[in-house]
């Protein structure tokens, strides 16, 4: 895995760099004392993994993640254990290392990162919305571009605060919109809201347990009130 290190403390960069030398699968391409330099670097270099300090002046680690378009896997490195819950909100964060980092704990984080396959690239919207649908296509507005999504390829739509994440077979899109708005644009014959935060493509279901649906690799909760409608839609033997 090609990786970079972002930390405003030279001592921390040296330690993480040394820990990386003990892992043959890791190649440290660069290290940066601030996030801005790293953002410029990422514009023209493909990276698999970032070791990212949270607590940096002016531009925190979380600011950095929110800024880059397609974040690779990220291992947070920090002296502050208090951000762990916030870190859980980011799909790209694979582990959270509290300094001083021991070789054993470092190796565990690398094992985790290696076990996770690269995520589908995410088109992240600074401002966008669900625009129109015509036939099998749905257009979403991301960064002032109307991007066409093939409706049958959508397998999941998830509400995330002021945004929705549209997951398709080969790409994910984060759009500034609401679940209600996209629900109105998707054909009822194919899609079903099974929870207040999730709409699924019924054709893509792999299996169903009592209160959850496995769709691709995502396990999605089914709310009690939506379960009867889901069961009606299934071709039960």
């Amino acid at each position: 895995m090609n990786c970079i290190i972002i930390d405003d403390e030279a001592t921390a960069r040296a330690i993480i760099g040394q820990l990386c030398t003990n892992v043959p699968s890791l190649k440290v391409l660069e290290d940066f004392p601030n996030a801005m330099q790293a953002i410029k670097y990422l514009n023209s270099n493909a990276i698999d993994l970032i070791f990212l300090d949270i607590h940096m002046p002016d531009f925190t680690g979380f600011d950095f993640i929110d800024t880059i378009k397609n974040p690779p896997k990220i291992i947070l490195t920090t002296s502050d254990p208090n951000f762990a819950i916030q870190a859980f909100g980011y799909d790209c964060i694979v582990d959270y290392l509290v300094k001083p980092i021991t070789p054993e704990r470092f190796q565990k984080a690398i094992d985790k990162a290696e076990a996770i396959k690269p995520t589908a690239p995410v088109e992240k919207a600074s401002s966008g919305q669900v625009e129109t649908s015509s036939g099998n296509d749905l257009y979403v507005n991301i960064d002032r571009r109307l991007i066409k999504i093939d409706i049958p390829s959508i397998y999941l739509v998830e509400a995330k605060g002021d945004y929705i994440q549209v997951k398709t077979d080969d790409k994910n899109y984060t759009v500034h919109s609401t679940l209600k708005k996209i629900e109105d644009k998707l054909p009822d014959s194919l899609f079903l809201k099974i929870h207040r935060s999730y709409i699924i493509n019924v054709d893509k279901i792999i299996d169903i347990e009592d209160n959850s649906v496995l769709i691709k690799k995502d396990v999605i909760p089914v709310s009690r009130s939506n379960r009867p409608e889901l069961m009606k839609r299934l071709n039960l033997l």
Binding site: D8, E9, A10, T11, A12, A14, I15, Q18, L19, N22, H55, P57, S79, D80, K99, P100, I101, T102, P103
Partner: protein
């Protein structure tokens, strides 16, 4: 009073003596700078920035094996965030102990 040691540096270096010396050199160069910024900010009563300085210094406190001192720094950092300086004397004693130790390396 708790004394610094090189246990952590030795454990993470994997026996790489050249790296140990390199890391000690980096700490010896970076620590006085961080300490100076800390003293400037505390003198200016800029407690928010001082808390950030303490936060950064905490890492070096832990690298030098000062586990109890680390807790002192955590409490001091939290006090500074609240605009209080309780714990200042103890924290600055820790800085002096670290300074003295680094001079022996």
């Amino acid at each position: 009073m708790e004394q610094p040691n090189l246990s952590y540096i030795n454990s993470m270096s994997g026996g790489d003596k050249a790296f140990e010396q390199k890391l000690i050199g980096i700490i010896k160069a970076e620590f006085p700078e961080e300490k100076k910024v800390y003293f400037d900010n505390i003198a200016a009563k800029n407690y928010k920035l001082t808390a950030e300085n303490v936060h950064k210094l905490k890492h070096k406190i832990s690298i030098l094996g000062l586990e109890k001192s680390y807790d002192v720094a955590v409490n001091y950092e939290n006090n500074l965030i609240d605009g209080a300086t309780e714990g200042r004397t103890d924290f600055e004693s820790i800085l002096q102990i670290m300074t003295d130790f680094l001079e022996t390396l």
